[in-house]
Symmetry: C2
Subunit: 173 residues, 2 copies
């Protein structure tokens, strides 16, 4: 980008660059999402002792029936690889917030189960986290902007869904 905009390189020649306006939008996007993620990560690290994604795992478990999910299912919900989840659950287990349980119907399977301690951490920290989100995002946007944001994000997410029409590849990647 930038000073490469004028490159006469043939490979780039048939390539459509971003307009100035698109570039402005894209940089605003990167800037804002970076800052927001850092902000929430720090807020949760400070108040709950875990990064945002780990918090999200606990939330998913809290919402699940019997507060448990199969590893793969949880990985899909959180959009992370099974490998990453495995490590994450190991850490949360060490904290006593999650416990593993064998799946009776499939001996390969494992459930991640939210413990009472895990539930308690959520109960204690959820209000602060919601406040942080509200303060950083919703409080600053008009109702129309909120609506637009939701629509835009749904479109973008849909476009990147790994399980698009006909793609019956392994769920991620």
């Amino acid at each position: 980008m930038g000073d490469m905009n004028t490159a006469p390189d043939p490979a780039a020649a048939r390539h459509r660059w971003l307009t100035d306006e698109e570039q402005r939008i894209w940089r605003a996007y990167l800037h804002a999402t970076t800052l927001l993620e850092d902000h929430l990560d720090r807020q949760l690290q400070r108040d709950a002792g875990m990064p945002h994604i780990y918090y999200g795992l606990l939330v998913s478990l809290a919402e699940a029936p019997r507060r448990r999910l199969r590893m793969t299912e949880l990985a899909m919900k959180a959009k992370i690889t099974r490998s990453r989840l495995s490590h994450a659950i190991a850490r949360l287990e060490k904290n006593g917030w999650v416990r593993r349980e064998d799946c009776p119907s499939d001996k390969r399977g494992q459930f991640a189960v939210l413990t009472d301690a895990g539930h308690e951490v959520l109960r204690r920290t959820a209000p602060g986290h919601v406040s942080a989100v509200r303060q950083a995002l919703f409080d600053r946007l008009s109702p129309e902007q909120q609506k637009a944001l939701g629509e835009i994000m749904e479109i973008v997410a849909e476009g990147l869904q790994p399980n698009e029409a006909g793609a019956d590849l392994p769920w991620l990647r």
Copy 2:
């Protein structure tokens, strides 16, 4: 969140939860930004051999006068800590894409300088990266949505700027 919505806990009582609609928007946001970041990270790792943020460092350098920036300046542009940048530049240096130079006027200072090899990597991979961004984002949004996205992201970013009114703390954190 979720099944905690009805918690009668006094600490949470004076707390405003997210409405269903807000929650829908927030989850769409998380979902989309996660997928997009992963997507671009993988695209760049595959085609350029580096994660998105490292690519961004090279772009910043390419745009700077004499293709060089002081470490702190570059860290600010990229919104990362100096420590992280230090490690990152060390890696890019190993790749031969960046080189360090002492600052003549301040002996503490270091310049990160984009090498010819670094510039070449950018030239070769920028088109593919731009395509990926366009395909995932701009091609899917109407002009109005693009405009709205830019405005929203500018608002959010502004709200999280570390250097807000009166906050003369160290630039980040």
